[in-house]
Subunit: 344 residues, 2 copies
């Protein structure tokens, strides 16, 4: 199947640009229908005339229809869009990238979404969608799902397809609060996910970054202990990956102090652990939630992180070895591949 694509690209490479162009039009239309030519052209940065030619063509193919309110997807177009994602996934070489990364870093499965959230922040929606679909597909009744916080996870949460069948899923936060915005704290995210999956949730009323003494005291609390224990034995652990410098700032940790106490230069962060490029622990911050040794025991740890700027951080965390499934974007994935190839 992959062979197919590479052969077509070899003998008729021009189709890729064409496919990409027409697909982007169809997709933009599907998101904004009905929409006019000019607006479409503006959004896609094509000339108005180009859009017009293409729209005319797509109309002739019965994929689009247009009336006085603008252009919309025709029934055939909607059917096509469902399948087209797969084709483009192949044409963009994402399928081979997925298997490449999975083999190279030792993951069970990698999902790559086209684009780069650094360049086009709206792409985060696609990441969330992919992750959301994955979760709702994989979650079983009676499962315990643990989640961390972060903007990425927040996006994932609200993209999980709403399940009408009420499951007995229990969602627990794997972290305390991150201080600032409520919507991206693991507590809030756990609640949203639970709601969408039709399950229940527990909260963890603990600040994420605390001194060790206070931490020990808190851990004596029964309820907190129970919640943490749930997270430690979760059937599915969903977490984001952070760039150390940015994460430290968010948690109000002095970066220079962290650097000093670090054994190696931190490249990626997850669960309060700072990992060096080779995946070893460079530094830790005292944190509520599962410890590193707990993570390695879990058999479904899913990392979600995207954007070229996170490539290094992702690779560092992956190399720690506890992640089983990675959901990322093209920008990050290609950058990771570059890093890997540069190392040889």
């Amino acid at each position: 199947m992959d062979n197919w694509v590479s052969m077509l690209k070899m003998i008729v490479p021009e189709i890729e640009a064409l496919l990409e162009k027409r697909y982007s039009i169809l997709k933009t239309v599907s998101y904004n229908q009905p929409i006019g030519r000019r607006l479409l052209a503006e959004r896609l940065v094509f000339g108005e005339r180009v859009i017009r030619s293409e729209v005319d063509f797509l109309k002739s193919q019965q994929l689009l229809i247009s009336d006085t309110t603008g252009v919309s997807l025709a029934p055939d177009g909607e059917i096509l869009m469902l399948q087209l994602d797969g084709i483009l996934h192949n044409f963009r070489g994402l399928e081979s990238l997925e298997t490449y990364l999975a083999e190279k870093v030792g993951l069970e499965k990698v999902y790559i979404v086209a684009g780069d959230v650094d360049k086009q922040s709206s792409n985060m929606r696609e990441i969330g969608k992919k992750a959301g679909e994955f979760i709702s597909k994989v979650v079983r009744d009676d499962w315990v799902v643990a989640v961390t916080g972060g903007t990425t996870m927040a996006e994932v949460a609200c993209r999980i397809p709403i399940s009408n069948s009420s499951q007995k899923v229990l969602v627990v936060p794997a972290r305390g609060g991150l201080g600032e915005v409520v919507e991206i704290q693991s507590n809030a995210i756990a609640a949203v996910i639970a709601e969408r999956l039709g399950g229940t949730y527990r909260l963890l009323y603990v600040p994420d970054y605390i001194s060790e003494e206070v931490l020990e005291n808190l851990l004596l609390d029964c309820k907190i202990q129970e919640t943490i224990s749930l997270a430690k034995n979760a059937n599915l652990l969903l977490h984001g990956i952070g760039v150390p410098k940015i994460m430290a700032a968010r948690r109000d940790i002095d970066w220079h102090m962290l650097l000093k106490q670090a054994k190696e230069l931190p490249a990626g962060e997850a669960f309060g652990y700072y990992f060096a490029d080779d995946g070893t622990v460079a530094a830790t911050t005292p944190t509520v939630g599962p410890k590193l040794e707990d993570l390695t025991k879990l058999n479904m740890v899913v990392a979600v992180a995207a954007g070229k700027s996170k490539a290094r951080a992702i690779l560092a965390v992956l190399r720690a070895g506890f992640v089983k499934v990675l959901i990322t974007d093209q920008g990050a994935a290609e950058s990771i591949k570059e890093i890997l190839e540069a190392e040889i």
Copy 2:
């Protein structure tokens, strides 16, 4: 897989023409390498400049190389050509045509080669190649293969890949001689096939069209009887299909006389049997070889016939019900499909 193609054709139909163009160039080069631009242009009926642009492109793709003697296939090009046939087979819709005909007429398998021998007689080579490959793939040791005559069968015979492992295959003619040219008589063809398969052959020294009295006398002959008996129980029977009027002429039979004695209008001929459009026997000519009732007992009867002009004849013979595998070309196959659809 088929879905794939239809979707690509829907959203980027221009690739088909491109594919077809470049494929035809690659193919022509592969047959005639090294070959010059002008000769190539002449043969493919494209403008010389067009060929030049395309050849330049294909060179940039490392599929072709050129030196002072002309253009040749590059190593990558040779590899590609092996797979490209399959892709074009799909793009041309031949795969779906094959399954359509197989289901509609009740065959085990249909092979369709692109083109139409009526328009481009050189296409007969492709038919022969396909049939030849099929035979060499399917034939097993100790098999008895029976063959008829005709130009098509002659082409098939000389396209069978030469086998160096000497098999114990026995090839027998399923018919007597057809009078005229020696090369297309079943005797000659049986010899060629046997040689190519690395097997042995028997000959049938009997004129194909004889009076019934003489026929009966001949059948008393031991050797002849044995050969015929072998053909009747062949593991593989390979035969052509004729258009009645032409066949009658070739056999020096008076067409008007045949018409008079026929119960219905003969549409197709095979083994001396003239079949009407619905597959019933319209007329017979006394002939050496297996009878109709023998044919139905065989479990691998392969018909090879191509060209739009033979469409009706092919369908008539297929409907007689003894054919299991058909090898034909696009011209005939599409025409047969038209006939079938017109009947509804």
